[in-house]
Symmetry: C2
Subunit: 470 residues, 2 copies
Amino acid sequence: MDYSTNDSKSTSKNKVVAVVGGGLVGALNACYFAKRGFQVEVFESREDIREAKIVKGRSINLALSHRGRQALKQVGMEDTIVSKGIPMHSRMIHSLNGTQSPIPYGKKGQYILSVDRANLNKELLSAAETYSTTKLNFAHKLLNWSTETGAMTFLRADGAKEEIQADLIVGCDGAFSAIRKQFLRQSRFNFSQTYIPHGYLELTMPPINGEFAMKPNYLHIWPRNTFMMIALPNLDKTFTCTLFMPFDEFENVTTGDQVIEFFQKYFPDTIPLIGADALKRDYFRLPAQAMVSVKCSPYHLSDKCVLMGDAAHAVVPFYGQGMNAGFEDCLVFNEIMDQLNEDFSAVLPEYTRVRVPDDHAIADLAMYNYVEMRSHVNSKWFLFRKYVDNTLHMIMPRTVIPLYTMVTFTRIRYHEAVKRWHWQDKVRKGELILTRGTQRFSSCNQKRRCSSLSDKEMLIWWLAMMICRG
Amino acid sequence: MDYSTNDSKSTSKNKVVAVVGGGLVGALNACYFAKRGFQVEVFESREDIREAKIVKGRSINLALSHRGRQALKQVGMEDTIVSKGIPMHSRMIHSLNGTQSPIPYGKKGQYILSVDRANLNKELLSAAETYSTTKLNFAHKLLNWSTETGAMTFLRADGAKEEIQADLIVGCDGAFSAIRKQFLRQSRFNFSQTYIPHGYLELTMPPINGEFAMKPNYLHIWPRNTFMMIALPNLDKTFTCTLFMPFDEFENVTTGDQVIEFFQKYFPDTIPLIGADALKRDYFRLPAQAMVSVKCSPYHLSDKCVLMGDAAHAVVPFYGQGMNAGFEDCLVFNEIMDQLNEDFSAVLPEYTRVRVPDDHAIADLAMYNYVEMRSHVNSKWFLFRKYVDNTLHMIMPRTVIPLYTMVTFTRIRYHEAVKRWHWQDKVRKGELILTRGTQRFSSCNQKRRCSSLSDKEMLIWWLAMMICRG
């Protein structure tokens, strides 16, 4: 769709959109608004990462999937980004004894992509800059802004203050959003920030003889119940390993020897791959980082301001959807801009109405997977369920879609995906009630076919219910 | 227990405790700390309500129950307060056709008390002032404070700034606590504020011929599903009626005639009692007020600051426990001060550990009752359950205690009360599974006693389970 022919473009040309935050979602949003013809001003508190030597904080690779790709596609960026990603078709589960078992993410041909956060950010900033109406302002720290007039004051690196008046302010300034602080002063703004007891720590697994130290096209997982490690491949043939562990337990490991002892006990196969010396050193390079889940509502303030990305919904990283949800925010907003002809006073409330339930759903799912990934992935029951779900999906691709597939490989709204999933679960529980109810009465003189259904009969009953609904 | 003989008193004498907020919990806390011998400075942003003519905002009467009374008792205030309260032994349910049905709160002799917020606050402030070591500072607005040094800056009514250094800062400054803002800047502080879709509005029902217009020793309830009205008696023989309704619906009533029409439809029995003219006038006196539920954790910052009352846990008003929970905070803190010999560095983390789960539990329960009070109170199923619970409680007073009784008439920790209640519910659901499981198989050729248990058999089974556990 070519927006240059859009009716509203004549009005948008005179309007200033201030995007606060030049991270992933801010940079992508700049492209979206610029493409529509708005005057876009991006304000980022840090220096331009394309010039900076070291980028501090945040994980260095991310899993890009369908929603994120669709959002990139709309501004012509999908191919560029995908070409620099590494496909991961399956999880690769590392058991304690060193055996590795793959669990596919979806059907053949479906995969998620390991992409480099810094590179993706750089590409998006450069893409935003190709629009003549876009100006990127780095080292601009937000001091204050007015919810009534849209007037904003920034502190520049040179100590000077800069004022700007915006028609729309788009807060993409992350989990600790400065823009959001004004929302907290309004009545009836719902907000929550929840830290999980786990912290994370990143380690690098170098190449061996110029090649990946493990199979590259997998997201490697070492599930160990209360904690876990994962590893994602990078273009330079390293892996970034991320150890997730309760802060309490991080506190118990304070010396290099304790690190080795800990890895020997739980991740013995990784010691030769990371290298004992590197492990002892890198483990203490940074303290364990906290993870927060942020939810809020509404996302907008009158017709002046809207929150997107982590500023609106920071999620814990266990569903690989943080960036994808943030990118989909831009896409959904864009769709509503089309529907409501760029009228901010209609678009903003509609965006809140549509998007809040979906973002809340993915925040909850990520929290759910926080438990599932490190524990259930271990169990045979989990593997069996994945197997059943995938098989049923193969037989009835429209009726039974595994949750992971809905979230990762479709644009089914997150909250719809959860609803369908709960429905499937309810059906499963219905089955349980039948089984348990009847077993309790096995002392009665019933015929065998009544006292408990065979597994085959259960499957038939369950399939019948699925089909009836489908 | 006489604290004047307490070992630690010699140290507490030199320590300054700054209580921020001179509302109910702040004033009570001042008594507690003063009684221990601390130098207590209370800072309240408003004027002294004992001198002010009109007290704005907040509901004017509250339900005092066991926890609150125990907390008052400890500082010798129970009798004074109780003597000015009006006992309410039962709910009085007003149906649409005007019939009234009482539902007792507990056993004979158990009641909650309708108390006047302003009077209670005044009494507590005066009680705090009887301690020579206590200073009350009104019209002092907190500007800033240091989490490291405990230094605080206040803005006085005369425009001057005042500095004070405290050994301990106790934040009792309500749901929108200024003290809590510093907590939000710390890492790993969990926080949520949730507004419910309902607002509330207060109306006064005057005496008729010098007497209460309705039976005084009841909490009157008009449950109407999506909304409801309640009325509590006051010492001056008025009732304060509070209408709870979704904000959307408040917006639909904009003229005096619409008010009458609305009351005619839903609360016809109250129109002659409130008076049509008063109703038309008072309904629009103030806009509908919002209600917020606040949860956070931890409650303390190092050994310097602790949050109590609404600052730590604002709850929606539907369990009548907001003030009681806040008062119990003071009591629990006091108990831990005894246990840990007034060592703030030990007392504060212990207070967080002990109190957070209980306050979160009552916040959740209040939210649960938000639904129950306005809808289920209507239904026969609810009445039946109350009846069963109360009967079982009479037979087995230690094993089966109705949730409402545990919350209102005991000091069983809130989270323990919820646990016991969930257990009872689980037992009930077990019963349901049995019933439903067997009914599904009624097509099979079973004997009648197998296909569905009689009500009597259910009751026996359920009682057996209860007794086994007890």
